[in-house]
Amino acid sequence: MAQASVARPRMRKRQRPNVVGGLLGFFWLVLIIGPIYYVVITSLKDQADYYSSNALGIPTNPTLRAYRIVLQNDFLHYFINSLIVAVVTVAVVVAISLMASYVIVRRSSRIVHLSQRVFLLGIAIPIQATIVPVYYLIVQLHLYDTLPALILPGIAFAIPITVLILVNYLRDIPNELYDSMHADGASDWRTFISLVLPLSKPAITTVAIYDALNCWNGFLFPLILTQSEDKRTLPLSLWSYQGEFNSDIPAVLAAIVLSCLPILAAYIIGRRQLVAGLTAGFGK
């Protein structure tokens, strides 16, 4: 792409700047930032200020009171639950999906094709529609109200899209590399560890971030598969704070801000990879 623009020295520079586009883009920006701005400023108000001041006004005397309340109400506990679920889920999903993708790219047989089709089906059907049997399964396995109850289905439902993204990436590894590994007598595992794994690092990063995001923000599984406060994850805790803090809205919104901070940090560090990961599976 860059080459093309260099090769053709500005034949006719883009006409006038796109004023209409810029204005609409700016308008959309306001729509996106507005609610975020509201959440942040409100979380810095005290309760009296919340009731008396303009909802979109800057707090008269900003305070971190709301954040203290949230942190005193087991926020860190929920945070750690979310962290455990996300880390375990993502680690397992990426490991087994990468193995599967390696087979899918390098092997052609009916079983492999069938598996691919099944994974594609997994992308097309709404996963939510299977929660009743998932609930049944988890109860039967005596896992109800445990963190594994969130991890196991989480892994399963992340596999299809993870495989799709990884397969698209692995396709670009030249066959010659595999062949030469093979000619050197390397086993499947050896090839996997010393060729596939290092070469697919960028794809692994993107897909891991993507899966982590989904897992971190997951609401349905925790809602249905857990019950006790002890096993609550962050999104569910936001929901229950709403009831617990009765109408201490700044505290509820402070919890929202806190729950978003880790993801925001990840976004700042790895924005490119995150964005790439989101479209890798779909757009071309």
């Binding site: 883009g25 996106i32 997994g122």
Partner: protein
């Protein structure tokens, strides 16, 4: 692909024979006999590796397939089975024939939920499609300010539906939210309390959540359109609008199919936002199928009825996806996976 017909056929049969081949491979291989039947793997040193090798062991595929089968496929089939059962969520399900189906199909509220779901799909599509498309094309531009804006546009994707739902619920609060902040008559509404308004508010919030994702797809698509097309068109005197309709739109055809499919599946499953914001209410004004399913199953303890709703939901999603694939004239999803 394999020169050895019998071995290939054996490996291509379902799991058991595939496993046999795998087991055979694990045996020590004393002296390779490339011509021997059923031993394509042994010919590594003899002929070119490509022709002789079948690829890595199927065991490496097994964990992913097993996981997805256990917690994805089995539940998928289980939904159908449970739709013919009576189960209150405790104890064990008992077979009840078509009872759930007849009660669901006789119940007017099901059709209401179905109608709302279709309306939700259409509504979110009508809102999201043009905005995502324009935004994506806009973001695909190389200008610096657009890059900066894109960073911010992407923010809604980072937040959980629960967070977004709760934030909007408070923002739209009739007493302490935006209604009173801007002193605009138009904005002074009980957004989520009015049955007619609530549904449209949900559509707006769903769009707010998902437009960033779809515009990302369009951005990626638009960046792949060869620049030369635009340069040629400009030489011919085509303006910006003309370029958009004659080049950008047709070139984004596949992106549109992918994005539309995901939009519709997304609308079909917009559970968490609605649950948090309105819980299907006021009344049943926002009780679309997934919400209906949840409330039937986990609030009214009628898991069988919930499963019927789930089957309808799955049917809807699959037919939408297939229809779009057909309409686009190409099996996009599959063509991505095949062609190796």
């Amino acid at each position: 692909m394999s020169s050895d017909g019998t071995a290939a056929a054996a490996a291509d049969r379902p799991t058991s024979s595939g496993a046999e081949v795998l087991l055979r491979k694990k045996e020590p291989l004393p002296d390779a006999d490339p011509s021997g039947p059923g031993s394509p793997r042994r010919s590594i040193s003899a002929s070119s590796p490509k022709a002789s090798r079948k690829g890595p062991s199927l065991w490496m595929l097994a964990p992913a397939v097993a996981f997805f089968a256990a917690f994805g496929l089995v539940p998928l089939l289980g939904t159908v089975v449970l739709s013919f059962c009576d189960w209150n969520g405790l104890g064990s399900p008992t077979f009840s024939g078509l009872d759930n189906w007849t009660s669901v199909l006789k119940d007017g509220s099901t059709y209401h939920a179905l109608w709302l779901t279709v309306l939700m799909c259409v509504g979110t599509f009508v809102v999201q499609f043009p905005i995502s498309l324009l935004l994506g094309v806009f973001m695909a531009g190389q200008q610096r300010y657009r890059a900066v804006m894109s960073v911010l546009y992407f923010l809604p994707l980072l937040f959980s539906a629960a967070a977004i739902g709760i934030a909007f619920k408070n923002l739209l609060d009739p007493n302490f939210g935006v209604s009173n902040a801007l002193h605009l008559g138009l904005l002074q509404q009980d957004w989520l309390g009015s049955p007619t308004l609530a549904f449209w508010v949900i559509i707006a919030v769903v769009s707010w959540c998902f437009i960033p994702f779809h515009s990302l797809l369009y951005q990626a698509g638009a960046r792949q359109i060869p620049k030369s097309l635009y340069e040629a068109a400009q030489l011919d005197g085509a303006g910006r609008v003309r370029c958009f309709f004659s080049i950008t739109l047709p070139q984004l055809k596949y992106t549109m199919v992918t994005s539309t499919t995901l939009m519709i599946v997304g609308a079909l499953t917009a559970f968490d936002l609605i649950y948090v914001m309105t819980n299907g209410g006021p009344g049943d004004a926002t009780r679309i199928l997934p919400v209906d399913m949840y409330l039937d199953g986990f609030k009214s303890n009628q898991m069988g009825v919930a499963s019927v709703v789930a089957v309808i939901l799955i049917g809807l999603a699959l037919s939408f996806a297939l229809l779009l694939n057909k309409l686009s004239g190409s099996d996009r999803m599959e063509s991505q996976m095949e062609g190796m």
